[in-house]
Amino acid sequence: MLGADELVINMGPQHPSTHGVLRVKLKLDGERVIGSECIIGYLHRGVEKIAENRTYQQFAPYVDRMDYVAAVSSGLGYCEAIEKLLIVEAPPRARVIRTILTELQRIASHLLWLGTHALDIGALTPLFYCFREREEILKIFEKYCGARLTTHAFRIGGLQYEAHDTFEKDVERFCKDFESRIVEYETLLTQNRIWIGRTKGVGILTAADAIAFGVTGPVLRASGVKWDIRKAMPYAAYDQYKFEIPVGTTGDTYDRYLVRMEEMRQSRLICLQAIENIPTGPIMAKVGKVLKPPPGEVYHAIEAPKGEIGYYVVSDGTVMPYRVHIRPPSFINLQAFDRMVRGHLVADVVAIIGTIDIVLGEVDR
């Protein structure tokens, strides 16, 4: 019931700051948000239905288009899920190269997040610096598999392409440059009193709430829960490398910012460790050209940059999956938006949408 002072305003679906086609209805009391509703589905493309009509390999490029900002990790999750279904394991060399590419993708995704989030809050410059670094990563992807954004980098069973000649050198050069760049971003933002004023205490999500809402990824870690699938249930080659899991304390926007910055640093460390010792050997396991997994089902989740991306695949023994359900991190994380935004001012809504780091392609599938 709308009281005398209550106002419902609508944000989006076309809006510079909703990061896609997201419509948010805000119920305001003066300047304060007392309720919100996210209306999604503008980018729904029926990916799960399509999966039932494509073979396992044919479906792989579709998963890139969900979280188009971090296509490599979505692809990794899918390929590993089908490999679990087939009970094959990718060879060690493939696993390590997959790890390197996925960590580079994590850095790229966080860079895009940082640039756009800072832009929403009013800092115009970090966007261009972040994209400069992201460009380097996309160049590596392009050299590797020919595509920058929707890469389809991995295949079920391993990799199709051998790492290109300058792969290790490129990654090493990027990682060596990257440390000073992170320092650049931090100089602009981390101690900046305006940045702190706009992000500290904004959008607090307690750990209990985060777990209850199924929130995963940097949002969960910033709320204080030290959980990362790469450590809890390692996949690819993550059990071979030493890295830290950054954890926040209060679960506000500032903590999420710090967690993602630190994650970028840790990803860089993983890449450096990985390229020192990429095993030789085959890059593709022995899987047939036609994949007919034994009937059954599997749920496989990996740590995508935005959270836990899970693939629930049901096979009936034919060449096409019977059911593929994708558990999208952005979709689940966005549920917590209402909890995070209540009591805040309208100007904070934009900051909170940005800090959850959603990609509508993944929310809507």
């Binding site: 029926g46 399509i50 777990i211 199924g214 599997v298 749920y299 034919t318 359900h325 558990r327």
Partner: protein
């Protein structure tokens, strides 16, 4: 199957095989085109004549958790299997809420990772509502399955795991499964007035709610 390794033939479909069986993964020669050039060793002996027995990867599960579960809920546990080393419990629909509460509070499965449904139209209870649970303290996953017929309502677990809110809405949107007790069960991804439940198996891939499209987009579907 005998001449397969000697011919560089790309389609490797083992035509004689039943869909239920699969090539046991790493042991048999995969018969890739690249391999076929070398005079390959003869395939494994059992290949041509008798069809391989279907590989069943689901094994019954009877660990501590299941034992405790059985002790507590008895008949509500319809089945406990392990498929590819992942635990699956099939439970009775009516007691879902109590089971969920017990799993959350006593067995410490505090996070609902995923809630979805699968349509098996040939079955009497055509829908499988699948909950994927995770326990932070135990670092363990568990899958919960509930069979539901077309018009049957499934209790909503939103009160147990608020994460189920949008996921149940999505299952309702895509399958038409009604979750009783859900605070606001309406379509989430598709427009509110859409008719039809797309992820059901009887909904064709090219099918659309042409009336809605005509009314709201002003075009004939298929353009």
């Amino acid at each position: 199957m005998a001449d397969e390794p000697k011919e560089p033939k790309p389609p490797q479909v083992p035509t004689g095989e039943e869909p239920a069986s699969s090539t046991p993964p790493v042991s048999a020669p995969p018969a890739k085109a690249t391999d076929a050039s070398a005079p390959a060793p003869p395939p494994k002996a059992a290949a041509p004549a008798p069809p391989k027995p279907p590989v069943v990867l689901q094994t019954p599960l009877d660990n501590e958790l299941v034992k405790r579960f059985r002790a507590k809920f008895g008949a509500a546990l319809l089945d406990a299997t392990e498929d590819r080393k992942q635990a699956i419990l099939t439970v009775d629909r009516a007691q879902l809420l109590e089971i969920s509460l017990s799993l959350r509070d006593e067995e410490k499965f505090d996070m609902l990772s995923s809630l979805t449904a699968v349509d098996w139209p040939k079955r009497e209870k055509r829908f499988d509502v699948v909950l994927e649970l995770y326990s932070f303290p135990k670092n363990e996953r568990l899958r919960l399955k509930i069979h539901a017929a077309d018009a049957e309502e499934v209790p909503s677990v939103v009160s147990v795991w608020p994460s189920a809110n949008w996921q149940e809405r999505e299952a309702f949107d895509m399958f038409g499964i009604v979750f009783s007790g859900h605070p606001e069960l309406r379509r989430i991804l598709l427009p509110d007035e859409w008719q039809g439940y797309p992820l059901r198996k009887d909904y064709d891939i090219l099918q659309q709610d042409t009336a809605w499209v005509r009314e709201n987009l002003g075009i004939e579907s298929g353009q």
